[in-house]
């Protein structure tokens, strides 16, 4: 099902233990049920809450910061969802593209905004956290408050069809034998590069050189034109090339357990072949976050609106037509994927090595 709206569970087994608590808080949506952090958040609520404790949120237009340019994946989702969200609120939601610095400029802007619920930011763990870990910033990205998640984007490996690569094992053999040397994806030091290093270390994908491109599109184009033999790409980004016959699908990097890829539902994933799961990095979670100390009840208002927007016919049909997965996850899940990116990636990846490898 390409477009099921559900309470999505975390991707890794270790996340499962959090699910119960997350759902309870998410569904209840009551400030009184909140944990310590949320209580602290409430103490930080601004004057918009009146003396009776009732909160008329939202009272003004909402800034929805997209830390990427117009036309990118996050922007496309936003422009699909926001009109539906607008219909369900008394205020307008203004999309603001603050692109640059591998999404850190927009997230930095959101981080330093007033924590009153009127500023939101869409970013995608683990991509933005990886950028921040590779280029440490003077703001604490993990302190951003999760509002909800609304989608996920799985990664796959595709290869130029002239090579007739038959699956992940074959690809691995070609690199091992030295038939192939170059592997590619988005820019060095970014999430694709980290994935490629992980596959090298955990699976034995012995590529010699990683060549980075300025986005999935250019990487796919370079693979089609045979500048590079294979690349990491999003499933939607490689779909046209695969349908056209210019690209062969090699493997899905997201396990079936985590939802796999809806664009290529029959594609084998790495865990089915017995390789270690890397869902924590290969299954991009698209989330909405608010500045630190944004009150929980306000975040819940937005989360409810997003959940309703995702369930509308317009969004569901778009999802089915395009293969862009739409999946709702509550605020705790959004927090979870952000925190886990900061815990799991440094455990598995030597970030200093990534910086050095990228600078080679």
């Amino acid at each position: 099902m390409s477009s099921e709206t559900n309470k999505q569970g975390p991707n890794r087994r270790r996340f499962i233990k959090y699910t119960g608590a997350a759902s309870t808080i998410g569904i209840a949506g009551l400030a009184g049920c909140a944990d310590d952090d949320d209580a602290a958040d409430d103490a930080g609520a601004d004057d918009a809450a009146d003396d009776t404790g009732e909160d008329d949120f939202p009272t003004q237009d909402i800034r929805y910061i997209i830390p990427f340019g117009e036309g990118g994946g996050t922007d496309t989702y936003a422009r699909q969802m926001v009109p539906e969200m607008d219909d369900r609120l008394d205020v307008n939601i203004a999309i603001e593209n603050i692109s640059g610095a591998a999404s850190l400029r927009g997230t930095g802007e959101a981080f330093n905004s007033e924590p009153d619920g009127h500023t939101l930011c869409a970013f995608n763990p683990p991509s933005t956290p990886v950028s921040e870990m590779v280029n440490p910033q003077d703001f604490e990205l993990p302190d951003m408050e999760g509002v909800c998640t609304y989608a996920r984007t799985p990664f796959v490996i595709v290869a130029n069809s002239d090579y007739e690569i038959e699956g992940y094992n074959d690809l691995m053999d070609r690199y091992e034998d030295g038939d192939l040397e170059v592997f590619s994806g988005k820019e060095r030091g970014g999430v694709d590069h980290v994935m490629a290093l992980l596959m090298q270390e955990l699976h034995g994908l012995n590529w010699d050189t990683y060549v980075g491109y300025d986005g999935t599109g250019p990487a796919v184009q370079a693979t089609i034109s045979d500048e590079v033999p294979a690349c990491i790409a999003t499933d939607t980004g490689s779909e046209a090339g695969v349908e056209d016959g210019s690209l062969d699908l090699v493997v899905s990097l997201v396990s079936e357990e985590a939802g796999g890829t809806n664009v290529f539902p029959d594609l084998e994933d790495i865990t089915e072949l017995g390789y270690e799961n890397i869902d924590f990095i290969s299954n991009l979670t698209r989330g909405i976050y608010a500045p630190p100390d944004t009150p929980a009840d306000r975040r819940q208002v937005i989360a409810d609106v997003v959940e309703e927007a995702l369930a509308t016919d317009a969004v569901q049909e778009w999802s089915e037509d395009t293969g862009n997965v739409v999946e709702f996850g509550d605020g705790d899940f959004a927090d979870q994927v952000l925190q886990d990116a900061y815990e799991i990636i440094p455990e598995n990846v030597d970030l200093e090595e990534v910086r050095e490898a990228a600078a080679e």
Partner: protein
């Protein structure tokens, strides 16, 4: 469905109401977005994108592509009238277009810009319709080494476009290149001259640089002038027809520039700005009267304006074939296609072929409206050039600053607009070439990124630039451009001797 059936169906769809109406609306909105500095086609299309939801796929895409086309032309309006390139693709248009305005030929320049834009837009899209399978193959022949060499070729063009001191020209170009080293390195997470500021991570925006260099610098210059941009005694009427016919006096320039635009438009990250200067440089190189370029030569406007609308056909090739957008505008268009359930790739050339032809035909028909709007409406704006500079200057400065900020919502871009505006004023005053500087700023990042990537691919060997036939051809062209000024007189001497 055969291609003929699809074309017939597309024609009926396009000329039925309301689809036809959306072509007109798209062109008008595009012209407005394009003529406002800092807005441009990508942002204009992104703003309209969610509003297309109720329209249905065909009308929505027709609206978006018409906006794209309209914006490409619209950029020239402010470029010609007030030296403010509305889009990066109109930067080279300022060089002769604004000079024509100062000579009282604004109306003629505007008519030429509309005619050249529409003509090149028409035949490049027609070429796309007729030869898309071959064009896809040509586009795929270009890889990182060729992208680097194309950028190097553009930088080598400095030797062609610089008038006066070559040392000053090279110094200006090198300074432009140096400025592009600000920000995160293109192939590694290495920070350069960012001074800890996130705002500098992506370096200086070249559109902001263009706005500063052209608009602010000119406003500083105009501040000393009484009256309007054009001298009051100049006759502003009666040159619309002349402008249209003047364009057709340069058929080779229109065709050559249009196809150059088409080829460069298909290269990711290059786009209309690069095409604009390439076409301008080539027109200048090929002209017998190259000295008059930059002084109001109509061929300068024609070449620049033919090339930017030519990029549309080119940029659509990777977008509709493989879902790979090469520019911000095509990225938004791709978002529109996906939003309306149209998947790029075989589907657009198979079951959705009629839809594909509908929007390609819309692009072609839209050019007729560009001519009509350009000739009958926009030329009336020539009167702006007689408005007193006391009014024009504050308006343009405000528009430039707002435009700079709206590029990336980054105050650095405002500082760039102002800082490079002052610098541009000084450069013009002391005869340093603005075009050389702009070529450096625009092509520097493309050159660096693709040079580094090419060397990664070749394991550090520079042979990658001569071992592929296409690369070798571009290398020979670069050598010809660099050696031309020395070899040409020598050959002429030998012939005479």
């Amino acid at each position: 469905m055969s291609a003929t059936q699809a074309i017939i169906e597309a024609t009926f769809t396009l000329f039925a109401w309301p689809t036809f109406g959306w072509v007109v609306v798209g062109i008008i909105l595009g012209v407005i977005a394009g003529s406002l500095p800092g807005v441009g086609s990508a942002m204009g299309m992104a703003i309209v994108l969610p509003l297309t939801l109720p329209l249905g796929p065909v009308n929505a895409i027709v609206l978006l592509v018409s906006m794209y086309s309209g914006a490409m032309y619209g950029g020239s309006i402010s470029a010609i009238l007030v030296n403010v390139p509305g889009t990066g693709g109109a930067a080279a248009t300022t060089l002769d277009g604004y000079q024509m305005t100062k000579q009282g030929n604004a109306v003629k320049a505007l008519a030429m810009s509309a005619t050249a834009s529409a003509t090149a837009g028409f035949f490049t899209v027609l070429t796309l319709v007729l030869f898309s399978p071959i064009l896809i193959e040509i586009v795929l022949m270009f890889g990182s080494p060729e992208f680097f060499l194309m950028a190097a070729f553009g930088i080598a063009m400095i030797t062609v476009v610089v008038q006066g001191s070559m040392v000053k020209g090279i110094a200006a170009g090198t300074f432009g290149l140096l400025l592009t080293s600000i920000g995160i390195a293109p192939n590694a997470p290495e920070l350069r001259y960012t001074f800890g500021s996130l705002a500098l991570y992506d370096g200086l925006d070249f559109i902001a640089a263009l706005i500063g260099m052209f608009a602010i610098a000119e406003m500083l210059k105009l501040a000393a002038k009484e009256g309007g941009i054009a001298d009051e005694e100049l006759d502003m009427s009666g040159s619309v027809t002349e402008g249209v016919w003047e364009t057709f006096r340069y058929p080779v320039t229109v065709v050559k520039s249009g196809y150059m635009g088409m080829l460069i438009g298909a290269i990711p990250g290059a786009g209309a700005t690069v095409a604009n200067f390439f076409a301008y440089g080539e027109a200048m190189r090929a002209s017998k009267d190259s000295e008059s370029f930059g002084k109001g030569n109509p061929e300068g406007v024609i070449s620049a304006e033919s090339s930017n609308n030519g990029t549309i056909g080119g940029s659509l090739i990777p977008t509709i074939s493989f879902g790979i957008p090469g520019s911000g505008s095509t990225a938004v268009l791709l978002g529109g296609l996906l939003m309306h359930g149209l998947r790029p790739g075989p589907q657009l050339f198979g079951e959705e072929l009629a839809t594909t032809y509908t929007f390609l035909l819309a692009l072609m028909v839209g050019n007729v409206f560009i001519i009509l709007a350009g000739v009958f409406l926009v030329t009336r704006m020539g009167r702006i050039t007689q408005v007193n500079t006391h009014v024009i200057i504050p308006v343009i400065v405000v528009l430039s600053v707002v435009g700079g900020y709206s590029l990336r919502t980054n105050w650095i871009d405002v500082l760039t607009v102002i800082g490079l505006g002052v610098l541009g004023y000084m450069m013009v005053k002391h005869d340093y070439s603005i075009i050389a500087f702009v070529l450096g700023v625009v092509l520097g990042p493309i050159a660096e990124e693709n040079l580094m990537r090419s060397l990664q691919l070749s394991d550090g060997s520079f042979l990658i630039f001569v071992t592929r036939p296409l690369s070798l051809l571009i290398v020979i062209l670069i050598i010809a451009v660099l050696a031309g000024p020395y070899v040409k007189p020598w050959l002429a001497d030998r012939r005479a001797g």
